[in-house]
């Protein structure tokens, strides 16, 4: 018996890509990346987004995720790019997908891709780590010790086994400030971390603080990624969607700007 080939026409061409920024908030910060990916695909279907599909017997929607905050950490700045078979207004897609995701997984920004590579626009993260139960002075002192160190190797259990990373080397800046709660002290640690391989995560930084200064949070800290982007000389992080926003949204049928897109059949059905 011959091999089967998929019935029907080949998948429709990609005519546009949309880049989305989403947040993972509150209790849904416990969503793993795989969990998010499943929920996101279902949301795209519920929202009726005309997704471009891969070829084959079990075609899947063409979605590119850019990194992902570790499970259990919140984020205000996760990025994903989707490929569409129709040109759509970015805000319309954002609102529809957001409405189809459970509250706590919130799509907060969207642009029509105008070329370039999204991962190339990201090489650092801004993290905010809330440390309830810790005095700001203790945290600040620990940070000074950490920053003064040449290197602080820390170990973490990964899928590939025990890995050692240099937590110090990845840290661009770290500062402690106070945000005391009515019933207990609370320090906030703001850290800018360079993306290295393997990644240095907030828990690695906390391990480093414990290693160098015996700083041990009495309750689990809450880490939130506030931003991702390119690290500039002055230590600022750029918005990775900004280059797509630089010009006003394309006029209808303004195909030439959609440089890297496969297929230029865009104009035909307009």
């Amino acid at each position: 018996m011959a091999k089967r080939t998929p019935d029907g026409p080949p998948p429709e061409p990609v005519v546009a890509r949309i880049r989305l920024r989403y947040a993972r908030r509150g209790r849904l910060r416990f969503t793993s990346h795989r969990d998010f990916a499943r929920a996101f695909e279902r949301a795209l279907r519920r929202a009726g987004v005309p997704m471009a599909l891969s070829a084959g017997f079990s075609p899947h929607p063409r979605i590119s995720y850019v990194g992902a905050a570790p499970t259990g950490m919140a984020s205000e700045a996760e990025y994903v790019e989707i490929a569409l078979t129709e040109r759509l207004d970015a805000e319309t897609v954002r609102a529809a997908v957001d409405a189809s995701l459970p509250p706590g997984l919130d799509v907060v920004d969207a642009v029509v891709a105008r070329g370039g590579s999204l991962p190339d626009r990201i090489d650092a993260s801004v993290w905010q780590i809330r440390l309830p139960g810790l005095e700001v002075d203790a945290v600040a002192a620990a940070v000074v010790t950490l920053l003064a160190a040449e290197s602080v190797p820390v170990q973490r259990l990964t899928k590939e086994g025990r890995r050692t990373v240099d937590a110090r080397a990845a840290i661009v800046s770290a500062t402690a400030r106070v945000d005391d709660l009515p019933d207990q002290p609370c320090a906030i640690l703001d850290v800018v971390v360079r993306h290295v391989t393997p990644a240095v995560r907030p828990d690695d930084i906390l391990t480093a603080l414990r290693t160098v200064a015996d700083l041990v949070p009495p309750v689990p800290p809450l880490a939130t990624r506030l931003a991702q982007g390119l690290l500039a000389e002055d230590g600022q992080i750029s918005d990775p969607l900004a280059p797509d926003r630089e010009r006003l949204p394309a006029a209808e049928g303004d195909a030439p700007d959609a440089a890297p897109l496969t297929g230029s059949a865009v104009a035909s059905d307009r």
Partner: protein, 660 residues
């Protein structure tokens, strides 16, 4: 009394446990109502529990249906709770966090009713964990007015005697109407100021009929350990409790908005129950016996549920569920109609757990039209023709080979075959025929497929005699004999290296089956065994990594000491015609005389035909329950649905239209 969310106390524990997402709720289509949605006493609050891990419990249709049916009532709120894994259990004990619901993270102990679905007996220890974590006394007799009524349902509730000490009540059969009636009773009692307390409420439930309250029945034993009699100890409580049967499935199109979890679960699809009940009459099959008669959902009713469910969930796979889905009177029309309707939408259809001899390959092809053609499943259940007659699984070797030939010819590469071991009258020879059958399948398969690259997987389950089946009197094969027989089978399969390599063999071990057998056909004395096993650390007994046979055997030895009965007495002992069985006062509608006659006929290999097509054989269900078979064909068809191509529907608030 306002009830506060336990989430702030649970949250710090979550980074310390495996897969915390399973404890946070927030599923699409889940509901959190105000605790006092209809006033403090006007609101009836249900916690619905599935006593297994979230990944198994969430997709459970029974819980999902009742959750929605109950929450549709304005004066009722229903939330869900699942078993927590031992890592979280330890932390909850350490930090004093009680069993919580995943919807509102409310303490389970604060609800009016804790409805527990008992699909299998191996969840009993998990039930005890949940009660204990909830702060509800394990023993029903020790509960006070402030504790929820613990109400069991599900297939295992057809013999709830082993858990009779731990539950307050049980409902047999379909739950949809029962939970509404119980809500009315509980609501009236609360609004009347809870007259007579908990005892009075239970009495009201028992007297209303259709709710079994174990404490209102006394069990006496004979000197030899058998039951002398089971009788009510209160006036107005029925001698026999009837099962519930919902008629007209089209009127109950639930779940309308399926729960869609964030966590990964065992089924990533939406399910539509296409009929309930089965009258094929397989003698080992408890599900088939206790869910009679057959009630179909119509083809158009199915089409509507699929359409609405896909929109509500965003799933891309639809499973058509029932005990034997290929038997729906219009299954071919349903398959074609749905495949046409969803052609080009990347939506796939499946007939999960269709273990049917007569499963026709054309139908399977239709179902896989938009998907992969990976594996087909057949369940001959018995290895030899003789044993298949004993169990009334009417499929011949020729049927099977013919079907398999067509399947391999149509491009399928893998066939799964399900069998049971330890069936009544079975010998080594019956089981060894499985090897011959599997080898024949591979030989034929290689021929028609024209390639050596085909596989056949043989899965074996140990037979466990279940209540309310013709085999309820049968002896269970001990696990040593089961394991020995299956060792022989494995050797036979491996005796031919070429064929043996193409045959997968799946069998674990016979010991969990003995515990399941003890719990299935046990009586109230087995409750002490469950409690002891749980106190000794028994958790998640359905999971091989947690199950401990030794723990159960030790528990049984201690707890049954002096009772004159033991594990063998409950499992490998054959029962006599007139022995009072622990579940005889619980009425699944089956005429006991018919069950016995069918048991006797099985021993001589006499087969029974399906009453859907060959006429009533008086199993007793229809007259005793006032029900009847409800099947098609309706002659209706599924029309194409407009607008199935993706159309971005902007949310109501947004006025912007798609560009272009």
């Amino acid at each position: 009394m306002p009830i506060e969310s336990l989430f702030p106390r649970l949250e710090p524990l979550l980074p310390r446990v495996q897969k915390p997402i399973q404890y946070v709720g927030g599923e699409l289509n889940s509901t959190v109502k105000d605790w006092d949605v209809a006033g403090p006493d006007g609101t009836v609050r249900w916690a619905l529990m599935y006593p297994d891990a979230y990944e198994v419990g969430l997709p459970n249709q029974g819980v999902m249906i009742l959750y929605e049916v109950l929450n549709e009532r304005p004066d009722v709120l229903a939330e869900r709770t699942y078993s927590v894994w031992p890592d979280l259990e330890a932390l909850m004990r350490e930090y004093d966090v009680p069993q919580f619901t995943v919807d509102g993270h409310r303490p389970v102990g604060a609800f009016d009713v804790l409805g527990v679905s008992l699909p299998t007996e191996l969840g009993y220890t998990n039930l005890l964990t949940a009660l204990d974590l909830a702060g509800i006394p394990i023993l029903a007799a020790e509960r006070g007015d402030e504790h929820p009524i613990v109400l069991a349902g599900g297939h295992a509730a057809f013999n709830p005697e082993p858990v009779a000490d731990f539950i307050d009540a049980a409902v047999l059969g379909d739950g949809e109407q029962a939970v509404l009636e119980i809500s009315d009773l509980v609501g009236d009692w609360k609004q009347a100021g809870r007259p007579g307390g908990r005892a009075q409420l239970l009495l009201r439930l028992a007297r209303a009929g259709g709710v079994y309250v174990p404490r209102f029945y006394d069990v006496d034993y004979l000197p030899d350990g058998r039951i002398r009699r089971v009788a009510p100890n209160r006036s107005g409580v029925p001698f026999r409790v009837d099962k519930r049967t919902v008629s007209g499935l089209d009127d109950w199109p639930y779940p309308k908005t399926p729960l869609v979890p964030l966590a990964e679960t065992v089924h990533e699809r939406m399910s539509v129950e296409i009929f309930r009940g089965c009258t094929r009459g397989c003698r080992f099959c408890q599900a088939g016996m206790i869910t009679r008669p057959v009630r179909e959902r119509s083809i158009t009713g199915i089409g509507e549920m699929v359409a609405a469910g896909l929109v509500a969930s965003g799933y891309q796979e639809v499973g058509l569920l029932s005990l034997s889905s290929a038997d729906h009177s219009e299954i071919a029309e349903i398959a074609t109609g749905l495949a046409d309707r969803y052609a080009g939408t990347n939506t796939s259809l499946s007939l999960p757990s269709t273990r049917v001899d007569a499963f026709n390959v054309t139908l399977a092809n239709e179902f896989s039209r938009n998907g992969r053609r990976s594996g087909l499943t057949f369940a001959p259940e018995g290895g030899s023709e003789r044993i298949r007659q004993v169990i009334n699984k009417m499929v011949t070797k020729e049927d099977l080979i013919r079907t398999v030939t067509t399947a391999y010819g149509a491009g399928w590469r893998q066939v799964k075959l399900y069998f049971m071991c330890g069936l009544p009258t079975e010998t080594d020879a019956d089981v060894l025929e499985i090897a011959e059958l599997a080898m024949e399948v591979i030989r034929i398969g290689r021929q028609v497929a024209g390639t050596k690259d085909i596989r056949c997987t043989v899965s074996i389950g140990g037979f466990i005699p279940k209540p309310h089946t013709p085999f309820q009197w049968a002896p269970q094969l001990d696990h040593e004999a089961t394991d020995a027989r299956l060792r022989l089978l494995r050797e036979a399969i491996n005796s031919d290296r070429s064929l043996g390599r193409a045959i997968g063999f799946r069998y674990h071990d016979g010991r969990p089956g003995i515990v399941e057998g003890l719990l299935s056909r046990g009586d109230r004395r087995v409750g002490a065994v469950i409690r002891r096993a749980w106190e000794d650390g028994g958790r998640f007994d359905g999971w091989s990594e947690y199950f401990s046979f030794d723990r159960w055997m030790t528990a049984a030895e201690v707890a049954l000491a002096g009772a004159g009965v033991d594990v063998d007495w409950y499992t490998t002992r054959e029962r006599g015609e007139h022995e009072v069985l622990p579940w005889d006062h619980l009425d699944a509608g089956l005429d006991r005389r018919w069950l016995w006659a069918d048991w006797q006929e099985s021993l001589t290999g006499r087969e029974v035909d399906d009453c859907r097509w060959w006429g009533c054989y008086d199993c007793g269900v229809c007259p005793s329950q006032g029900t009847q078979i409800q099947i098609g064909p309706t002659g209706r068809t599924l029309l194409p649905l407009p607008g199935l191509r993706p159309v971005l529907a902007p949310p109501a608030a947004s006025a912007s239209a798609p560009v272009g």
